[in-house]
């Protein structure tokens, strides 16, 4: 289930050129974070991966399917997409009906639907809120409902658009655990995020975008330490890399554990 983007350009109907000649190959099982300033084209790019947008030019393939030839509904079997704003995604009157909507429409068996829905709600800490109306929850919890609704579809590729926005510390940690669990299941996880510390801790590969183009693409450690290039797109290295830099440490850490390990070795 590899993803392949070749020479993708996209112009909005308004005439704004949002993506310019993007090529990106993502192998099945990779965890990829897309970072970059507001308006860089991050959301426009990922909306192409489940067919919500079709290329103005270029080609996108999801496990060999050309997105131009498949509907969003067909692509939903392969690609789950969690909207940035849950209010754009949620429409049912209970959390439970929201979470079973996806797997039901994918034609899964009733037992499997309950199993997937329960596991998804458990993963986001909402297992006791299944019968609540999504709009009776906090905005941060509604975001978790939107995430659970996509997790329950059990797609091989999961895309999350700014999943930690508005989440508190434990909410962000919970999203991190969801990412780790998807990685463990060898699924492809793609996220857009402004939270660079979260990005460093959970994603192996980082794609940096600016003005509709890819600025850098590579391993998290190598990409996130490029202070000057990141600054071009309003991003700065994670806290612990900046600290390591100031302390003159040679190896850049991605996590607190790594930081202490490298620091202790000196």
């Amino acid at each position: 289930m590899d993803l392949s983007i070749n020479s993708l350009s996209y112009t909005y109907p308004s005439g704004v050129l949002a993506l310019e000649d993007i090529s990106l190959q993502i192998a099945y099982g990779e965890s990829v974070a897309i970072v970059g300033q507001n308006g860089a084209g991050k959301t426009t790019l990922v909306k192409h991966l489940n067919g919500l947008l079709k290329p103005s030019s270029g080609k996108i393939q999801v496990g060999g399917w050309d997105t131009a030839d498949h509907s969003v509904a067909e692509l939903a079997i392969r690609v789950g997409y969690v909207f940035q704003n849950p209010d754009d995604q949620l429409f049912q009157s209970t959390v439970w009906s929201e979470v079973i909507f996806g797997p039901k429409n994918l034609g899964k068996a009733p037992d499997q639907i309950s199993e997937l829905a329960n596991a998804a709600l458990q993963a986001v800490g909402l297992n006791t809120s299944a019968q609540k109306h999504p709009y009776d929850l906090f905005a941060s919890q509604r975001k978790m409902v939107a995430l659970a609704a996509v997790l329950a579809m059990d797609t091989p590729i999961v895309i999350m658009d700014e999943p930690t926005t508005g989440q508190d510390y434990s909410g962000t940690q919970m999203v991190g655990q969801v990412v780790e669990s998807l990685k463990k299941q060898s699924k492809t996880v793609i996220t857009i995020t402004h939270d660079i510390d979260f990005c460093a801790e959970h994603f192996e590969r980082v794609v940096v975008m600016a003005q509709g183009r890819i600025l850098i693409d590579g391993g998290a450690r190598e990409v996130l330490s490029q202070t000057e290039t990141l600054a071009q797109t309003y991003v700065e290295p994670p806290q612990l890399m900046r600290l390591a830099e100031h302390l003159g440490m040679g190896t850049m850490p991605l996590t607190a554990d790594e930081f202490v390990a490298y620091w202790s070795l000196r």
Binding site: G166, Y169, S170, Y234, V260
Partner: protein, 299 residues
């Protein structure tokens, strides 16, 4: 350039040491049985840049609404205790009289855009129009505030057609244009890129110190708060669990555990301590500067 700002605050003619005062405030939303904030007493001096932190559901937004008068005037419910801003009791002052005193930036910018204006410039003027600010003055403030949050190029755009991050800049500009003495912001930079949110926060911080504008900000960006806030108030389950300098509040373990979290600098120091590599008595750092110093000292 910002010559007209000199009238901000000083124009009120009144200097109050405690511009915000809450005494034993408990508030319960209509249709609920548990208070969202419980027995809160708080005094904030004029000009302070004060952050409210805490987990989701801790009562942060409710506290913000209470100071801005939305509680009880808009949300109704049961308010006990006394809230006053600039010496005025909010519960007996209509919200249209409070708006010129306290500006509130909502958590969701989409909810704040008036929906009645076709351009960003007009949207920023909306609040000022309702306050009866003279036309030339409005025009000057519009331009100055757009420059401050770097949205000049959006001036002619349709407000509801903007991205979330752009909308956040617009609503901040629209509230600042009214020159409130007190500015209350509920996660104002949640949709901005990292350096963009730093710039917007720095602009607000600068206005606060230049014009003695009191700021109360709800933010999850602890690293920024640790470096720039004068004071941090931590909430959990509707009550204040810590109140003090960023370095005291954010290095307090009992605070981390209650939904507030900690910066990666503190996290790394805690990890070093867990591995027995942190000298006893050395305070855990909360900012980059503190971390550089203490990790050097800890070696």
């Amino acid at each position: 350039m910002l010559y007209w700002l000199s009238a901000w605050v000083c124009g009120s003619g009144k200097t109050l040491n405690e511009i915000i005062s809450l005494q034993q405030v408990t508030y319960t939303y209509p249709g609920t049985s548990t208070p969202a904030i419980k027995n809160i007493s708080l005094a904030i001096p004029a000009g302070q840049f004060c952050a409210i932190v805490g987990g989701n559901g801790a009562g942060k937004s409710t506290l913000a609404y209470t100071i801005a008068g939305f509680v009880p005037h808009f949300y109704h419910g049961t308010l006990q205790g006394e809230v006053s801003v600039a010496g005025i009791k909010t519960s007996s002052t209509p919200i249209h009289d409070l708006v010129s005193l306290v500006g509130l930036v909502f958590q969701n910018p989409f909810n704040q855009i008036s929906g009645t204006k076709f351009t960003v410039r007009e949207e920023i003027a909306f609040g000022m129009e309702n306050l009866g600010i003279p036309r030339d003055e409005m025009a000057a403030r519009c331009e100055a505030m757009m420059a401050l949050v770097d949205i000049n190029e959006l001036a002619e755009r349709f407000p509801l057609g903007l991205s979330g991050g752009q909308m956040q800049r617009v609503v901040i500009a629209s509230i600042l244009a009214m020159q409130p003495q007190i500015l209350v912001l509920d996660e104002p930079t949640s949709q901005l890129d990292p350096i963009g949110s730093r710039e917007v926060l720095a602009a607000i911080r600068q206005l606060s110190s230049q014009h003695q504008m009191t700021v109360l900000i709800i933010e999850h960006k602890l690293e920024w708060l640790a470096a720039y806030a004068d004071r941090i108030i931590a909430l959990a389950e509707g009550t204040i669990i810590a109140d003090g300098s960023p370095s005291d509040v954010l290095s307090d373990e009992t605070v981390w555990e209650r939904g507030v979290g900690l910066t990666r600098y503190t996290l790394a120091a805690r990890q070093a301590r867990a591995e027995g590599r942190w000298p006893a008595g050395l305070k855990l750092p909360v900012t980059l500067e503190e971390a550089i110093e203490s990790f050097q000292a800890a070696r």
